[in-house]
Symmetry: C2
Subunit: 296 residues, 2 copies
């Protein structure tokens, strides 16, 4: 199966599973289920759960065992978007072309829907872990990996740094720290958690973590490069808008040519980390190339 067909197949699998997991309860307060589902089912490539499924397939793991953890990470990602979009945070009215959660359900409900998706991620992972008596150590370790990635030393701290950096110049170390936390942590978590659940060796887990760290970084560098020389029609914003707004990016801090060289190096490092997995790593390799070559 080619890369795009495989990606679509896994995206669809994740969408179906998410739709299954999030039941709509009737009775008092039921509107929150609609608010949760509105943002959770708003689409996207489902990069994080797809990464978990791709690692599972490469390691000959049991896909049904991985799926609840993979979907839980997507729930955590979705909660973070709902809260980021709030008026007190980024104050965004639209996401992926549709009104943001608080524009549809109100601010109070959007806060609670975010809370419920974050907590729901743990409910989902714990329900899966309790219901099956095997593999207890790996399950606890996988949930712990995900919790740390989502927490105050991971994604949340990245959001704090991003918020506190607004309108300010930041240095290279702070830029890297921010991206490692804000988006990198939740790209690494599905890869590491899936490898742990599939019973990978510590060496394989480490190599897969290195792959994930590098594609996470590459994703951000590519974003910054596209901001200065992307097609405004594809990007949905004017070229150079980061520099114009005084935002520190890989391009403003390193220059365009250096940023391009860094992109190539992170992709090469990502591919290097996959060497030991041979042909089975085809999808993960294609995914790294996809991140380098995308135009929006």
């Amino acid at each position: 199966m080619d890369f795009n067909a495989q990606m679509d197949k896994w995206t669809q699998l994740v969408n179906n599973a998410l739709d299954d997991y999030l039941s709509i309860n009737e009775g008092p307060g039921a509107n929150i289920y609609n608010a949760m589902k509105y943002s959770l089912m708003a689409g996207g490539k489902r990069l994080r759960p797809v990464l978990a499924l791709a690692v599972c397939e490469m390691l000959d793991g049991n896909r049904n065992e991985i799926l609840p953890y993979a979907c839980a990470i997507e729930m955590i990602h979705t909660y973070s978007l709902i809260h980021d979009d709030l008026p007190a945070m980024d104050n965004d009215d639209y996401r992926r072309g549709v009104p943001t959660n608080h524009k549809v359900f109100g601010e109070a409900m959007a806060i609670l829907a975010g809370d419920a998706l974050l907590n729901g991620a743990y409910e989902l992972m714990l329900a899966a872990s309790v219901s099956d008596s095997g593999n207890r150590d790996a399950r606890l370790r996988a949930i712990h990996i995900i919790a740390q990635a989502a927490g105050v030393d991971g994604m949340i701290c990245g959001q704090v740094v991003d918020m506190e950096s607004e309108g300010k110049k930041i240095d290279k170390d702070t830029l890297e720290y921010m991206h490692r936390c804000k988006t990198g942590a939740l790209i690494k978590a599905p890869v590491a958690a899936s490898a742990v659940l599939c019973g990978a060796s510590e060496k394989d887990i480490k190599n897969l973590e290195s792959y994930a760290e590098n594609i996470g970084l590459a994703f951000q560098i590519k974003d910054d490069i596209m901001d200065v020389n992307g097609d405004p029609g594809q990007m949905g914003k004017a070229a150079g808008s980061d520099a114009a707004s005084g935002k520190s990016t890989y391009v403003t801090l390193y220059g365009l040519e250096n940023a391009r060289a860094m992109l190539d190096k992170t992709i090469a490092d990502a591919l290097g980390a996959l060497e030991g997995f041979g042909d089975k790593a085809g999808f993960l390799k294609d995914l790294a190339a996809f991140i380098r070559d995308r135009d929006h």
Copy 2:
């Protein structure tokens, strides 16, 4: 040790443990640790973790094993207060006599500090569960119990119903459903989780859950009674303010005398559920009486 001395001792134990667990990291974004700690260490009786410790002592459990789970529930309780106080929710400027989190740290940071405390509760419980190789089944089950109590079918749904009921008359079933979810679930969770971690029999777990459900209900009925005949100086608000604001309470829906009878019955049921535990249940019995007799 008498009831008050025991309560103070456990409250202090919980305060020390919470202070230990929440380290203040240096570096970019570190201000969020201050925001988390500000609300987490703002005081109170620590009713929820104390319940877990009291059950543990009664069942001759290992207190150090229970403590992370007990403190995690207090972190969940604290996050819910921070988010409830936000301008988009109850818009409260003060809690326990000090400015609310968003008044000190701003709305965006208060949202993130709440998120970080909720996620941090799971980080704490999972770290404790991963580090000790014993008792895996009980640990997973205890975290699952807590997650369900905090989630959209527990505390969060109670908050949604409360929010949607504002300024409206609600019926008796909705009133009970709201309180069972909003406060009852997180009073039951420490009792049930502690019992599970201590290896209690299913019959004992069931009886302790019944005790917790009844004191949770008694707590709310007593609140509603105090609103109409409490001492305004002790209560911090005018007598009859619930009725004046059109709020549905146990007193407005059932009448004062019936509410008093319901309070007595829930306390009797709570004590009845403890019968099988004999003298060892002394603290839990005293706690039920304390809830019935308190004047603020």
